[in-house]
Amino acid sequence: MNKPLRRVAIFCGILILALLVRVNWVQYAQADKLKTHKDNRRVLVERYAHPRGDIVVDGKAITGSVEAKSGDLKYKRTYKDGAMWAPVTGFASQVYGATQLESIHDGILTGTDDRLFFDRTLSLFTGEQKKGGNVVTTLNGDAQRAAFDGLKGKKGAVAALDPRTGKILALASAPSYDPSKISGMGDAEEWKKLDKKVNPDDPSLNRALRQTYPPGSTFKVVTAAAALEHEKYPDIDAATDSPFPWKLPQSSTLLPNDGNHPCENASLRVALQWSCNTVFGKIGSDLGREKMQETAEKFGFNSEQFTPVRSNASVWPKEMNPPSTALSAIGQFETAATPLQMAMVTAAIANDGKLMQPYMVDKLTDPNLDVIKQTDPVEMSRPLSADNAQKVQQMMETVVKDGTGKNAQINGVTVGGKTGTAQHGINNDKNPYAWFISYAKTDKGSPVAVAVVVEDSEAARGDISGGGLAAPIAKSVMEAVLDRSK
């Protein structure tokens, strides 16, 4: 009987060997795949096992971490002034994942980023509690508060930049939400309230970056820049070839002006001062779609921006007929811009034609605040020459001094701006969007450019104009920045 016994012994050996091979396959060959599998809860547990690093504004953290009272994930995110900063931070939720800065720099914040390898290894030996690195932003707390307070009770957004560097100073959206309320387990009720289907206000929408609005008359500064750059009208004080009334090309429709202003053959300066549709519509029509597109795209239209949080691409339509081109040149038809985009347009003009890449992360630091990565300002493009930029500045300063933008005047500071009232809805039946873009200038260049949009306000239709609703917000944001730089 010993021969079959030996064979059975070999058979049992093979069974054991098969098990050994299998566990090697699972625990070695497949280990990484299983370890990081999306359904593997350990990924979440590890992620929330340590306090998350902070997002920093003006040297102070606007985020925090507390031990969660329920659930098996130890730390959860808290936010100071969460609603105000939500368009910057996004959220980091134990249940719903992370968005915006919280998501983009998740590796730094959780401490798993390769650049934090040394710190991780060190804490392994020192026994110190692991902590993530920090994200230091370029934002200006005062400007942000001015923007957020200005939007209180309204629906809209504000984007403010430092034209010299591209630093984002304010990024507000209203109505907003408090990301603290959805950061832990058992926050399903609060999460549901953010659903667009339940809440038509859509508070989780980051309007400053992700909503495109028809820019209305504020787009006329782009058209003016195009007219100068393409040498259609090199002198801003010379009369233009602008009949009034003016019919849209290939059409019998008359393009109306808002109010009774001296628009016939008005100079660029006067036309911008009174926001003459006929003058800028005709410029757009005369230059044609392609030349307008060239200038608009240099300002950043038709491409997404990464600040590093992505902003939607603003639109200059790539296919349209001449009458639509005329309408697009005054910010109607399919022209659409995010508040960030209009802030970029303003910033490029204020910075003498040099458009700086907008960014909101100044530096990434390790838990001990040593800098891992510093963001340097980068020139993005030159939409117009310094000469032409200064000409547009003069025009915009006239708007604030003597035109539709008087509400943005600041004592002792040169301010340039442009109002806008964009119509929307079928047959323009909805409340228009009130726009205001502006910059302030000191002897050290322009420290702030801002774009404000207020949508669907409760105010009566006639009262809505960029100058009335949006300009005061822009003014307070500019003041906040100016006060700081004094």
Partner: protein, 465 residues
Amino acid sequence: MSVVTNTTTIGAIEAPSRRNTELLMLAFAVAIPVFAYANVGLAKDGSLPAGMLGYGIGLSLLAGVAHLMMRKFAKYADPLMLPIATLLNGLGLVLIWRLDQEPSLGKAMAPNQLMWSTVGVALFLGVLLVLKDHRVLQRYTYISMVVALVLLILPMFFPGVNGAKIWITIPGVGSLQPGEFAKIIIAIFFAGYLMVKRDALALASRRFMGMYLPRGRDLGPILAIWALSLMILIFETDLGTSLLFFGLFVIMLYVATERTSWVVFGLTLSAAGAVGVAAFATHVQSRVNDWLNPLATKCVNGECGLVTETAQAMFSFGSGGLFGSGLGQGYSRFIGGIAPKSDYILATVGEELGLTGLMAIILLYGLLIERGIRTALAARDPFGKLLAIGLSGAFALQVFVVAGGVTGLIPLTGMTMPFLAQGGSSVIANWALVAILLRISDTARRPAPAPAPSPDAEMTQVVRT
């Protein structure tokens, strides 16, 4: 004269009993779980656990008493089996206690398991004490058959647990998994039966295509066992037990008859049975599906995207990696319910002790199995050989079916890891199994009694004097 002297000389040398080796190994087998116990406590709340001393003393006592009894009643038995069983049982207790520290897994089970382990060791001692010679068991061949059948059929009349009807529930007392005991008893029956019938089964066969095919009338027993296994599969929905019994029979039949044709025949039958049942039994199909797609999510009451136990176990293994998270620092609790302490206990081993620890555990099982087979080889009587290979084979199949199922090598079945997993029936039955193997081994290695003084020699002496 010189020939006689030589024989006497060899007989006079005491064969090594290997009990001292056993004692040394036992020291390790007790020390390792005690360290593991300390390890869990330190990892969980930074201090040595309060029960550590009691646990250490308890395990030492069990091992010590067993060892002393071995010295007295099974002096020549294999020196490795007791230490391996002690080590596995001790580690099992630590693992269950470690999982008791997870509030989400329900009530503590380690105290009960310790009690059952004690009962198991008591039964182990009882078997060594009462069973002076394993050949006695041969007398109970047909009684064994009846008892085994009853044990196998009984669970059919009790409600199933987690889809498998392998339990007998006695209200107020608890539940029992009769399959674990049936495993031993049926091996006794097969050994007794095959010892008698082996010649008929081996010799009376026809040659066909180079293979010896059994006669029609000799097919009876194997077909009966096959049918029984299929019935277990269908009515008790237990793939593991079914596979175990059929595999056990085929192995023993092969060893008894030395005919490969029986193996081929047996494999064909089991393949046909498996495919046939899988074609219409939904619980087998779902097990096979889980096996093919271990990471797929499931839906319960309309809520989808839920992670299955199978997937959780795979995540446990994967997250353990090479060296594991360390005892007490893993998350095998995500498997949920009682499963991490019973069927999926290896997942905790894999996650917290890593690939290294898991391989060590599997090798311990392998070593125990091969010591069992060695016992079969060393046994001098056919019944002992058959019984030893039967018990070792059953043990091997069980280890393979459970470990293979949990690690996703084969579809999962409802059986538990011997000694390691939570469950009274299992630990008691396996201690008894080891006791019988040790008894056979003791008989096999025991030196032949010294020849009685030869009357002839004396007479010669008398004559000389």
